[in-house]
Amino acid sequence: MSEAETVTIESVEEFLVHAMELEEASYEHYEELADTMEVHNNLEVAELFRKLANYSRLHAEEVHQRAANLALPTITPWDFKWKCPSAPEAFCMDDADYLMSSTKAMEIALFNEIRGRDFYQQVADNSSSEAVKKLALEMVEEENWHVEMLREWQASMQEEQPQEDLDPPNMPE
């Protein structure tokens, strides 16, 4: 989907399928990052990603509860209506690095949460369904809360020195 196209979701069911995919992808993305950080013994950042994964998991569960008694449509993986190439909160994987600091990890998390919030905002702005608008704005509010929480968390972090790589890639001097 190109940047110029508009996100238009007109049914609550379709919206919830998008929200489920977004939150579950976010959970899996953070879990994956936490796992790989553990493998590379960057335990502090692993713990941070694990906490973020837990928040996303809770959010996904909440969306599942909202959808409990609805007949949800099936959306093929490439037909989700985000403007980015994958679920908005699981995008910048290649910005990760095994030596990354907690502050860098927090930058990735903020980038993702803001993308998620922006997606919900676009749905609210463009849908002609009042029910979808209402639900989307509730999600915007929750994502805003996440963003603010992460910003506060980030502000409380101290600037970290880059970690020394004891087994660096074999690059020329």
């Binding site: 790989t36 490439w78 190439p85 994958s86 290649d94 690059m171 020329p172």
Partner: protein, 275 residues
């Protein structure tokens, strides 16, 4: 009793991947499991076969049958499996070094043999597992390896062109940075009847950090593709910058599948081996 449909995560084995954080292969794993879920593949009817290399770890992370073979021999092992078990969906995975260097000969003949399988090559233009040497797809002037401090000076291998020349009936290129589009390509590759080759540009964050620029360089194919005209496909592949994604060429050829001789026993097979 109705069996609930499997989700993408149900196809993951639960074994934690040991790829570097940020590695493009994570997106390939995710796209492949989504493709499997979309196709509703029965786990017990799928085998993922690989060779050696970072990308060849893939079978361990997927909860189907799997075979982590030897270097460059993924296609050979997969061909044997498909010959013996034509009922299985066979998916082969590996990297550019495994597939185009030591496995180059197998690649050529798998293309022309046209057995029904999908071959996914996660191409990062480097041997990552052995600490960053130039591979067949590395550009000749890449000098960031102590082994080739002035670059290889050798023109790089064009996988799509070779596949076409060798007779493959399905040729596509995907990008790990476009996982949704990659899922669609993998679905089409698995559904294709015959040998389907998918080159996935899957960046190595550790030895090729320059590949982060792929996000700006990769673009969808502009032409009206796929084509079933090999001449047109050749022109598009040769004129392209190697960064255009999508299914380039799709044409049906007779699928090669040896007769499955269920009546054979060990004695008969041994006799056939005698000179």
């Amino acid at each position: 009793m109705t069996v609930p449909a499997l989700k993408a995560k149900d196809y993951k084995s639960g074994i934690k991947a040991v790829w570097c954080p940020g590695c493009g292969h994570f997106a390939v794993l995710s796209a492949l499991t989504k493709a499997m879920a979309h196709l509703g593949l029965v786990k017990e009817e799928v085998a993922v076969v690989s060779g050696i290399g970072c990308s060849s770890r893939l079978p361990a992370y997927i909860d189907t049958y799997g075979f982590h073979g030897i270097h460059g021999r993924a296609l050979a092992a997969a061909s044997g499996l498909k010959a013996a078990r034509p009922d299985l969906t066979v998916i082969v995975a590996g990297g550019d070094g495994d597939g185009f260097s030591i496995g180059g000969n197998h690649f050529l003949h798998a293309c022309r043999r046209n057995m029904n399988m999908a071959y996914i090559v996660m191409d990062n233009e480097v041997y990552g597992m052995t600490k960053g040497q130039a591979s067949p797809t590395t550009l000749p002037d890449w000098s960031n390896s102590k082994m080739t401090p002035h670059g290889t000076g050798i023109p790089s291998f064009n996988p799509a062109a070779i596949a076409l020349a060798a007779g493959a009936g399905f040729i596509a290129r995907g990008f790990s940075g476009e996982p949704s589009e990659l899922t669609r390509i993998l679905v089409e590759a698995i559904e294709h009847s015959g040998f389907a080759f998918v080159q996935v540009l899957s960046g190595c964050v550790t030895y090729r950090p320059d590949q982060k620029l792929w996000k700006e360089e990769v673009h969808p194919s502009e032409s009206d593709l796929p084509t079933d005209d090999p001449v047109k496909a050749a022109q598009i592949i040769q004129a392209g910058d190697g960064k255009a994604t999508g299914v380039i060429y799709a044409k049906q050829f007779p699928v090669w599948q040896p007769e499955n001789r269920m009546d054979s026993n060990l004695n008969t097979i041994e006799k056939e081996f005698l000179l």
